[in-house]
């Protein structure tokens, strides 16, 4: 083997190693945020966006959209959790307010996180939440209960053929996760 070949081999190997590092970084640090961004734009899994600020409060009174509410407890989450209203009819552009009832049935402090999901998923980008208990973790003391507020607007640009939107919340027990985060936060102070 000549020296130039050796050099070329080394150069090429380093380039390929670079590609390996890039692809690993792509999987770890690009794909998850990219996926989340795509989810919000395309409504994959009915994921909704973050808090919405009203820009235009015109109401389209010609149309009515039925919004259904359902609730799910994930795994061993023992809370009682249900919508107080099972459905409302709204006009696009109109702000609506509903509540979910949550009760910590345990004799210990617990923290929950509600994850929203909307079907049909293409409606997700037109469903704007101006206030939602899902933006934050919800702690409840032992035996305590609460009405959790949700305020939303259905966008006037909602495709004409969508007449029903179903919003599901699944609550997860994140007590341990929250405790960990708190201790990390405390340690970093």
């Amino acid at each position: 083997m000549t020296q130039t070949t050796d050099k070329n081999i080394a150069k090429l190997s380093i380039k390929l190693l670079g590609l390996v590092v890039v692809m690993f970084a792509f999987a770890m640090w690009v794909m998850p945020p990219l996926y989340n961004a795509l989810c919000e734009v395309l409504g994959i899994n009915g994921k909704t966006g973050q808090q919405y600020t009203v820009v235009d409060s015109q109401i389209d009174t010609n149309r009515t959209v039925k919004v259904q509410f359902v609730a799910q407890n994930n795994e061993a989450m023992p809370w009682k959790f249900a919508p107080n209203t099972s459905q409302v009819e709204v006009h696009p552009g109109e702000s609506a307010h509903v509540t979910y009832y949550a009760k910590n049935t345990q004799d210990r402090y617990m923290v929950s996180q509600a994850i929203p999901s909307i079907v049909p998923s293409r409606a997700a980008e037109y469903f704007h939440k101006t206030e939602c208990f899902c933006f934050n973790q919800q702690p409840l003391a032992a035996g305590a209960d609460a009405d959790l507020a949700l305020q939303f607007i259905v966008d006037r640009d909602l495709p004409e053929d969508i007449h029903v939107i179903t919003l599901s919340y699944t609550i997860f027990d994140v007590t341990e996760m929250a405790a960990k985060q708190d201790s990390v936060a405390a340690a970093s102070k």
Partner: protein, 519 residues
């Protein structure tokens, strides 16, 4: 080390060898051992499915068997076998004295045995081995996984490192060490397919590493990549996995295409038809493999635009694949064909792989996939592509090149017997699986309704036949090495035209120390 003395003696020869032929041999034996291991897992699966009811294993262990069968066959048998062929044949086919990075070559092999020992040992661990399928979808593989999952993750990382090193080595070899005059468009097809495969590997193995790293972090470090509770999403796992996984199936099949592209011209005594279009077709398949991954996830609830995009892109793969099949057939057309064992396996591979390609086309149709998805129809489909597509090509390659490797000729009668038993056993195993899948049998279940009983029994009988034919294969190989009729003709096969047929038979320990001149 001087270039002209022979191999060292004893165990150290194999432990410290940097010779591409030694390493190739070790890869091939290792992959054969893994093939038998993964095969015995399959035998357990088929034995349990022989009749309805639970007879032999419990569902928990059954799930470990399906998982380990898939992992061992994909990462332990097929991939290392093709790397072994690459090690042996690429330097011989491009006129290079050895691989470009011989020491790394040694490491990339020696990572594998301990890795698979570790992976196999998880079966004996508390809570059992991996039981979440070879696709290890979260959260079954994270929150709900047995404790051994950490070792599984470690094993996947190690295999990935081995594959990446192997691929870098192959690319470096092909790019830098071709004999003078061997331009890219003169390279044998096998070298071309491996070059493209190696690029695929370098691009997607790190993605697999990323997927298992995220799993590891979710399990042990409190992140929530794949858990909705912390803002993650289990579906993300499937996207990352199949972003690796779909190119992965082409990683398995492209070198197999390469093998038949060598074997068919040799035994047709006619040059490969449409060489250029073969190169372009292979490249387009590789490219398309990056944009079709979500066809494994039609039922996951994608937006319709995504569904349509992945359906169209997937169907598009049929075009270059069909071109390849047409080229092989045209190579045979007006040739002068003899049907030695390698040719039999190669023809069967083209035939059966195409059948698998047809069912693949059906699976690409998203609305119909709502019925096919995760049924035995899928199992039948990917075994037509993986077993008939890859393993048949590997059998063909072994018979084709074993005279060059050992200087001995295999027993033709035994080879043909192996072929016919394999062919019958294979089809008996997997063809009825189309039927039970269409009739509604889901995959990965240890027990089933009586309506699926007859075809399952047929399938199991076929599997036992196919499985035992591999013992004949092993016997034939060992017998060739010990008692085979010596071959001295450098060419071995009348129609052999590539460079490996210009070196003496058996191939000496060092070849092409002075590069050949390619015209």
């Amino acid at each position: 080390m001087g270039a002209h003395h022979g191999p060292a003696k004893g165990l150290t020869r194999w432990l410290f060898t940097t010779n591409h032929k030694d390493i190739g041999t070790m890869y091939l034996w290792f992959s054969f051992a893994m093939f038998l291991l993964g095969g015995s897992f399959a035998m357990i699966i088929r034995a349990e499915l022989f009749q309805p009811g639970l007879q032999i294993v419990q569902p928990e262990f059954f799930n470990q068997m399906t998982t380990m069968h898939g992992l061992v066959m994909v990462f332990g048998a097929i991939m290392p076998a093709f790397v072994g062929l690459a090690n042996w044949m690429i330097p011989l086919m491009i006129g290079a004295p050895d691989m470009a990075l011989p020491r790394m070559n040694n490491w990339s092999f020696w990572i594998l045995p301990p890795t698979f020992l570790l992976l196999a040992s998880t079966l004996l661990m508390d809570g059992g081995g991996p039981n979440f399928g070879w696709t290890f979808y979260a959260p079954l593989s994270t929150t709900y996984a047995p404790p051994s999952v950490t070792f599984f993750i470690f094993a996947v990382h190690a295999m990935g490192i081995s594959s990446i090193m192997g691929s870098i080595n192959i690319i470096a070899t092909v790019v830098n060490m071709r004999a003078p005059g061997m331009t890219y468009m003169k390279m044998p097809m096998f070298v071309w397919t491996w070059l493209i495969t190696a690029f695929l590997l370098v691009a997607v193995m790190p993605v697999l590493a990323g997927a298992v790293t995220m799993m590891l972090m979710d399990i042990h470090f409190g992140t929530s990549f794949f858990s909705a509770a912390g803002g993650g999403d289990p579906v993300l796992f499937q996207h990352v996995f199949w972003f690796f996984g779909h190119p992965e199936v082409y990683i398995i099949i492209l070198p197999a295409f390469g093998v038949v592209s060598e074997v068919i011209p040799t035994f047709s005594r006619k040059p490969l038809f449409g060489y250029d279009s073969m190169v372009y077709a292979t490249s387009s398949i590789a490219f398309l493999s990056f944009i079709v991954w979500a066809h494994h996830m039609y039922t996951v609830g994608m937006p319709i635009a995504g569904e349509l995009f992945f359906m169209y892109a997937t169907m598009l793969i049929a075009v270059p694949t069909a071109a390849k099949v047409f080229n092989w057939v045209t190579t045979m057309f007006k040739g002068s064909i003899t049907l030695e064992t390698p040719m039999l396996f190669a023809i069967a591979k083209v035939f059966l792989f195409t059948v698998g390609g047809f069912s693949g086309l059906m699976l690409a149709i998203a609305p119909a996939d709502f019925q096919y998805h995760d049924s035995y129809f899928v199992v039948a489909h990917f075994h037509y592509t993986m077993v008939a597509g890859a393993i048949f090509a590997l059998s063909s390659a072994v018979y084709y090149w074993i005279p060059k490797w050992t200087g001995k000729m295999y027993n033709e009668t035994m080879g043909k017997t192996h072929f016919w038993i394999s062919f019958i056993g294979f089809n008996l195993t997997f063809f009825p699986q189309h039927f039970v899948g269409l009739a509604g049998m889901p995959r990965r279940i240890p027990d089933y309704n009586l309506m699926f009983a007859d075809f399952n029994m047929m399938s199991s009988i076929g599997a036992f036949i196919y499985g035992s034919s591999q013992l004949l294969f092993l016997f034939n190989i060992v017998r060739t090495i010990t008692h085979g009729k010596p071959v001295t003709d450098a060419k071995v096969w009348e129609g052999g035209t590539t460079l490996e047929w210009t070196v003496p038979t058996p191939a000496p320990y060092h070849t092409f120390t002075t590069p050949p001149e390619v015209k």
